[in-house]
Symmetry: none
Subunit: 152 residues, 2 copies
Amino acid sequence: MRISDAITAYILHRMEETGDGTAELQRNVLAEQLGCVPSQITYVLTSRFTPAQGYIVESRRGGGGYIRIQRVKWEPDLPPLMHVVNSIGEELVPAAAQAILENLVSQKLLRPETARVIGAALTDQAYRQIPADQRDKLRAALMKQMLTAVNV
Amino acid sequence: MRISDAITAYILHRMEETGDGTAELQRNVLAEQLGCVPSQITYVLTSRFTPAQGYIVESRRGGGGYIRIQRVKWEPDLPPLMHVVNSIGEELVPAAAQAILENLVSQKLLRPETARVIGAALTDQAYRQIPADQRDKLRAALMKQMLTAVNV
DNA sequence: TACTCCTGATAGTCAGGGAAAGTCAAAGTC
DNA sequence: GACTTTGACTTTCCCTGACTATCAGGAGTA
């Protein structure tokens, strides 16, 4: 029995309990409860609760800090967005990004304004400071993150 | 339970009450009411009610002293969001980004969906691969880029 | 009246300590 | 080889208290 599985199960269970698809926890507390080091929690979150898997994670450090995990609710006519998110690999070139966005807009899965905003965040314009060989990876991560947030 | 949150909530509540987006208070009095030291009020003001987050704070010492917090009214001229874009510096920390978005939404200058999407692109979650010391710069660049794209 | 000085009533500053979560690389497991 | 686990170190945020700066008004003086 892996600790990671226990952590995952616990988080999912908590989500069920709250009823709104949200789980809020404190890293140190949970680590203590489950008998692992705190960074193990972080590991599980980054490997199993990613946007591509339909989750949004937000957190806060310092006194009274917390971690909140939220499961994305998919509207009946929106699963295609999920497919898109899953179909994006580790890297994404600008042209492909634009194509995906245009496609989504023409299918009425994305408002034009939303597409514009997403597109703006995916142009190399914004990545001046990022080494060229890392931009496509960043682009892919951002695209997934943003598409996932469209229908929280 | 964070005292900072209570102070923040109190100030926002006061702003609602007055109706003109202004709250006036006395530091010692509020500190007494909420059971904290006066400098805690100052801390909250400097960390959560900054100009970058859309607030102006003015104060006066001595007898009859006071602190007035005012929510910035963005001019309804064109282009609406440029004020915000211009007020963002070279770097942007996550908390400030979030605060700006909330402010814009509450002033109806941004659709909640759009704010969510932008917010998603500004969390550290999306920047795992980026060196920590470059994230705030990237965040600032992305924020400007996206806000500019809202009303093309 | 006019001026200075004192005093009490404010708010501001800053350094330090504590409480969280994040990072990363090395070691372990299957 | 990919995934897991660990722990030392870092960063962020919160809270406090001692000390400082500023203001208004009154007392004293001429």
